[in-house]
Symmetry: none
Subunit: 419 residues, 2 copies
């Protein structure tokens, strides 16, 4: 069974946005054991959309569309498809009610074209949109399957996850199962990782193993084929053990949705430690990443963005002497920042970030020099030196992740404080 | 004249990487006035690649390939195309020399398959690869043009820039120019915007106008065709004026790379105002967005992440009475937070964020209720109430952007303090 992904939208053809939906869907379809042999992108154009559908019908069993389900004139995916299939359109009452209610709640005037988002192809299984208004659709017609999803990724992904995956899983029930596990690593580069895992990589059959580099991290994907999930997972367990024996120290978590911030959050909550931060170059990014996930307010109570030199002294209380003698980007300053913010927020752990974010035009050769301070109750405050690259936002992100990894490793050592 | 972009690579169909090359090329082609009506992705498969080429030849004048030029077994783009066109392959001596030299310099053993990267379609214009080894190609054959580029973006982009652009510019010399301008809006939904611009949208010919929804923002793209850039810009100016007459209040900037944070930053620097923030639910995201761009440290000196209730009192100084009487998510608390942080950081403007980020499971119906406080020297502190959605990170991002828009509008009113 194979699928073709058809992304609809002139903005894609103008290069205004990247087709991330195709990648997301491809990954998910691969896990379901469904082959994808073609991606297609067409614009908001009736004729060319029809042509794309006809071509796809020649070579795919499942056609998955993203985009073109909105309320404007350019949105025509369901209209074109309905006409092509010779099926009428109809209003889905539940979706219509939701659209009307949304505008009432927001105390916002609703223009009539919004109702279009509740129009579906007659006979379709309506796919609920939890994060937006436009209804998705699943249509079976003359042996082919058509799935219509909204364009915005934050609407498409939950809809696929909740509504489409069960449908496709049922379609592929009798095929081999594919199960993937992703190991997440920090602190090692991809070519080094590939070199260390060379033997495993060269001798792989089932499971398969592949390394991927992301910004500042690497991951390992182990994929097993088998008759059922259990058999797959057993094969993966074996290979995972081999991998951990070699590079286990760098593995911080499992799962493609896991993040260093999430792992730190879980450790803070489970071991009941309070964390605070004083951020200079990172400007709030560390703390912001931490509060992505709810349920943290007992263990992260707040922190400081001490962006300028003056604020480090006046608000945070770093001594004038320290700054005059060593400068703000120094081991001494990082140490004091960590100690002071820990005290100010009455925390168990205080982390500080000070450095030259760059770019090169602003900070010259100093761009990328970062000190991270880590103060812990009952231990000597440590400071860590890094010399990253020249890219400002790259340095900020890398500093934040490095900070999270330091806190993670620290928390793994510390005893639990949970009562 | 139109082009089709064909990206080659099974890793794309497995969703391992995103097709950023198609976006890059589309943007560049649009600027050259070359229409792109289709993107296609195929895997490292002879048969399906040929099919894609045949389909593209039916509908495009220019076929641009990315990927499949490397030294491994999976790399077959030039071989498949040469065979399809009935042209032989030949070794390009200059490229071969470069490949051999590279390995000698690196003291690296060169496996013979590396020489493949110097093989080109006979008669092709060889496109030099400045950042990698594989040669690119430009082939004219029976009225069609074929451009073969390497997959890695850091090889493709310079090759396009240096080698391909001049060729395409020559091809389009006598054609019309295409110029686009993007207007950025905040505070209005896409369907409302489309409704207000209905007349302009319905009567468009040249320029064309389209609306796009992004997360929390909308944009308007006006694209004009003309003999030269000046003529295009004049046409765009006329339509932009019509648009501003209707929805100008929501337009915060021009350009697809512009952001609310950037606009606020520029206003802070140009009018010389100091800004600080006390962030609760947003957790540092507002401040972090501000420091994305360098050069701000005189106008943003720092701020607070006052995540928990206790910190609002102990560090920020919000009175216990206020919190007991009104709660932390209230107009009164937002007002005091803004006043206190402005005082603490000795700023001209203090902004505060307090609310229930959600999700629904945590905050129930209160999810999405946000108060933003805005304190300005010499003015009465204002507070603003919002009821956003149920998505935690959506609410945080939306709060941040709403905060930026409030600061933006405020700064537009205030007189410059610059000496």
């Amino acid at each position: 069974m194979n699928a073709e992904i058809i992304a609809v939208g002139t903005e894609l053809l103008l290069g205004q946005i990247v087709n991330s939906n195709a990648s997301y869907l491809s990954k998910e379809l691969a896990l379901l054991g469904i082959d994808v042999f073609n991606h297609t992108v067409v614009g908001d154009n009736d004729k060319r959309m029809r042509e794309a559908v006809k071509i796809a019908e020649e070579r795919a069993d499942i056609l998955i569309f993203s985009g073109g389900l909105g309320p404007t004139q350019d949105d025509m995916t369901k209209q074109v498809l309905a006409d092509h299939l010779g099926l009428p359109l109809a209003v889905d009452k539940a979706t219509e009610q939701k659209v009307v209610q949304y505008h009432a709640d927001m105390e916002r005037e609703m223009s009539e074209n919004n109702r279009l988002q509740a129009v579906v192809i007659e006979g379709a299984t309506v796919l609920k949109n939890e994060t937006g208004l436009a209804a998705g659709m699943y249509v079976e017609h003359e042996g082919k399957k058509y799935i219509l999803l909204p364009g915005p990724p934050n609407e498409l992904q939950p809809m696929f996850d909740n509504e489409v995956r069960p449908i496709l899983a049922k379609l592929t029930e009798d095929s081999d199962q594919l199960v993937s596990r992703v190991l997440r690593l920090f602190g090692i580069g991809e070519s080094q990782l590939a070199a260390q895992l060379e033997t495993i990589i060269d001798t792989q059959t089932n499971p398969t193993i592949a390394t991927y580099a992301e910004e500042n991290e690497v991951s390992i994907r182990i994929t097993a084929k088998g008759q059922d999930q259990d058999q797959c997972n057993q094969l993966i367990d074996q290979m995972e053990k081999q991998v951990r024996d070699i590079v286990g120290d760098y593995i911080y978590g499992v799962g493609s949705e896991t993040s260093l911030a999430q792992v730190v959050r879980d450790l803070l909550v489970n071991k009941d430690y309070r964390l605070t931060a004083a951020e200079s170059l990172t400007g709030g990014l560390f703390q912001s990443s931490l509060v992505n996930i709810p349920g943290l307010s007992l263990n992260f109570i707040g922190g400081l963005v001490s962006y300028s030199e003056g604020i480090k002294e006046s608000v945070l209380g770093v001594s004038e002497e320290t700054i005059e003698q060593y400068g703000v980007v120094s081991s001494e300053c990082a140490e004091e920042m960590a100690d002071k913010v820990k005290e100010m927020f009455d925390a168990d752990i205080g982390i500080s970030f000070t450095g030259y974010a760059g770019p090169k035009e602003v900070d010259g050769d100093k761009a990328g020099i970062v000190w991270i301070g880590l103060a812990v109750t009952g231990r000597e405050t440590q400071t860590y030196y890094y010399h990253f690259g020249k890219d400002r936002n790259g340095n900020r992100k890398r500093s934040v992740l490095t900070g999270f990894d330091l806190v993670r490793r620290l928390l793994l050592e510390l005893p639990s404080q949970k009562k």
